[in-house]
């Protein structure tokens, strides 16, 4: 088991390095930072000066090693636009994004697990269809539009939730619902499929033959088996919520990582983009790693050979 953990961790570290390398080279190949910083009116000499100033004239590998060396120590350089350390910018935004992602994940699981289980227990009935309808709606509606509806109903009409900002946890409720609902359908389908499979398996028949109460069969024996792929998908979804929440962050005026990345890309603020990319990637890898460990804990066939 320990070996399994160590190998997974080693592999994850390798992935992070690979992502950083890819991010660094691709971003530097995508445009000339010096031109972007200098602005449209700048002369060639000015651009050269900026290039010199930022160290952009040195070979890419050298810059990469230097950047990575500093990044490992938490120093991502200064933002070209904000003129302040990138680390500070991120430290300011990351909590917002993390809060949003965690709450969205909670909303997603709170919706998809009961819906999926209910649909699986009564397949092809009205319950199943209703659950599927809820899920399909989530997938079909553009999430910014759903977010706007939430604001109209709960903030403007009912006045029970703040429409924008990130001052309190309450501010995250509507965005989390919008983002979580959007990620629900694939999860719900996965749970439904897993539960249908589990409920028709031989070991469930054995459990019935033992006279175990139905609720225990469903929630102990079947769900434990059905939930294993769900953990992996949750990790991926969490990664998506970190990086892909730009739209929701914009609608609800949350200063988050996604928003920061989007702004910085349009400004060619490379140090920020690189840092955000790396951090999101690391979170992603860590989540997948965590999912592997949770699965190993849930499924003895992974843990013990």
């Amino acid at each position: 088991m320990l070996r399994y953990l160590m190998q997974r961790i080693g592999l994850a570290a390798l992935v992070c390095v690979a992502v950083s390398l890819l991010a660094f080279t691709l971003l530097n190949a995508s445009g000339d930072v010096a031109i972007a910083v200098a602005g449209e009116e700048a002369t060639a000499a000015q651009i050269d000066a900026i290039r010199e100033d930022l160290g952009l004239n040195r070979p890419l590998p050298v810059r990469y090693v230097e950047w990575l060396g500093q990044a490992v120590q938490g120093d991502f350089g200064d933002s070209l636009f904000f003129r302040q350390p990138v680390a500070e910018l991120i430290a300011h935004r990351l909590p917002n994004t993390l809060t949003l992602a965690v709450m969205s994940l909670a909303v997603m699981l709170a919706l998809s697990v009961p819906l999926g289980v209910a649909a699986a227990l009564w397949p092809n009935t009205l319950i199943d269809r209703a659950a599927m309808l809820v899920a399909v709606m989530g997938q079909a509606m553009p999430n910014f539009w759903f977010a706007l509806i939430l604001i109209v109903v709960f903030s403007l009409t009912l006045g029970i939730a703040p429409p924008s900002g990130s001052a309190t946890l309450g501010h995250f409720v509507l965005p989390a619902i919008a983002l979580g609902y959007y990620s629900t359908p694939p999860m719900m389908r996965l749970i439904r499929q897993g539960m249908i499979e589990a409920m028709s398996s031989d070991y469930i028949r054995t459990a019935r033959a033992k006279g175990i109460p139905t609720w225990k069969i469903v929630f102990k024996h079947a769900l434990r088996n059905a939930v294993i792929p769900v953990v992996s998908l949750s990790a991926v979804q969490f990664g998506n919520m970190l990086g892909g929440s730009v739209v929701i962050e914009t609608v609800f005026g949350i200063q988050g990582l996604g928003f920061l990345a989007w702004e910085s890309i349009s400004r060619m603020d490379l140090p920020v983009v690189q840092a955000v990319l790396l951090i999101v990637a690391i979170f992603y890898v860590v989540m997948v790693l965590l999912a592997d460990f949770i699965n190993a804990w849930l499924d003895p066939r992974i843990r013990i050979q």
């Binding site: 070996r3 070991y203 028949r205 434990r224 088996n225």
Partner: protein, 542 residues
Amino acid sequence: MTAPVLSVRGLTVDLPKSGDRPHAVRDLSFDIHPNEIVCVVGESGSGKSVTAFTAMGLLPKALKPSAGQMLFEGQDLLKMSRRAHGALRGKRIAMVFQEPMTALNPCFTVGDQIEEIFKAHTNLSKAERKAKTMALLEEVRLPDPPRVYASFPHQLSGGQRQRIVIAIALAMDPTLLIADEPTTALDVTTQAQILSMFKTLKTTHNAGILFVTHDFDVVAEIADRVVVMQKGVVVEQGPVEEVLNRPQHPYTRQLIAAVPRKRDGAAPVLDEEIALRVQGLEKTYHVAGTLTKKPRTVHALHPADFTVRKGETLGIVGESGSGKTTLVRCLIRLLDPDDGAIWIGNRNFAEGSRDSLRAARKDIQIVFQDPYGSLNPRRTIGEQLIGAPMNFGVGRDVAWERARRLMKIVRLEEEALYRYPAQFSGGQRQRICIARALMVEPKILIADEAVSALDVSVQKEVLQLLADIKRDMGLTILFITHDLRVAAQICDNLIVMSKGRIVERGTVDDVFGNPQDAYTRQLLGAMPGRGWEAPDLTGAPH
């Protein structure tokens, strides 16, 4: 006699409207007394499992009991609320299933899964539950109970898992134990152990046992009374001695006549010409190390030598893991052997790339175990049959003509060529598979467990068909099976394999009459129903 544990009276279970008959079982009546094993025997679709599941209250939703009674200790199980029936399950009525590999939840330890039944039905403390679980593991004779207790199902063998399922069934000391083909998925030596365990349990637990099986040898081994079912109806029941030796109903007689038995008669006279010579054939698997496993080497096949003469049927017998499948796969080069030669005529089939063997492949053909998976469901039988000869340059018309002729040989209608696999039964499909193999007029036919998935009466027909084809076409057959009885019935010579080695070879009479190897003796000793000679039913009055 004491009052019966279970008394079934006029039980009728309806099938859904789409079924091939209106009732899964109809007007079924029988009794099970304490300390008695009642075997319900029948072929697939006879309703024997439906009967077992009705008693457990575990019928699929589509099936509904519509008439009759199932009296368990005086209460009618059919009129009971679901909750009341559920309370009996596991406690007073317990069940053992056919497939031990999947019968246990992979996520929980064996100890957990046994203790759970005490949690559901008693107020025992944790320590008491554990003590009882340990005692059960002892009772079902599992080695090293503390280790098994902490094991997960995937760490145990099929036989061990079945013992766990039996332990769960025995936990609450039920008065009625239902076993649905509990040994069908097991190797014959494991089967013998489990069967002897059931015989012991009958007396130690004073339980009534309803034992569902399709195998008359198993019946002979353990039953006190027998209920024979056909298409949902009981055709005959009575004491085991009576039913096995003096069967009255034609169907029972047919089933008993189909029980595979060693043929009597002189040793076969075989052609001198050698059809297949295998020399030093060897296969070793090198399992690469994964993240968590060390790399290891498995000698699936130690150097094997044997010859098969033209027109001979050679049986290759072995239990799971004996290397017989590896041998077959090497023979037809689905696997590349590490070393050795396979001479078919003047050609070494072990040499050359798989591509270069293409033309030679028509000399050696195979029929696989699973008649359902072996045919493409979306193409007609005819299209599938003519494919092979057309690959070897035979014209379409000639191929069709051959397909028509083969349909006659395998005793199917010519119209079968225009239908799809789903329209045939298992036995019919296996005959189609045989026809398919014969389409290229091979010299050697390999039957890899080709009758193992079939009902006995169908199995008998297919075996007869193979014997007839062999005689008429001068075919050489390699008959791969785990079942010594079937091998004895059709083969001229036998090879017994164990752990990748050939441990015994000789004529059927030699192997059965004078086995040399300890493993062969063990295998022969484990065959069920040895005390019973199936009566000769030819010519007896109906």
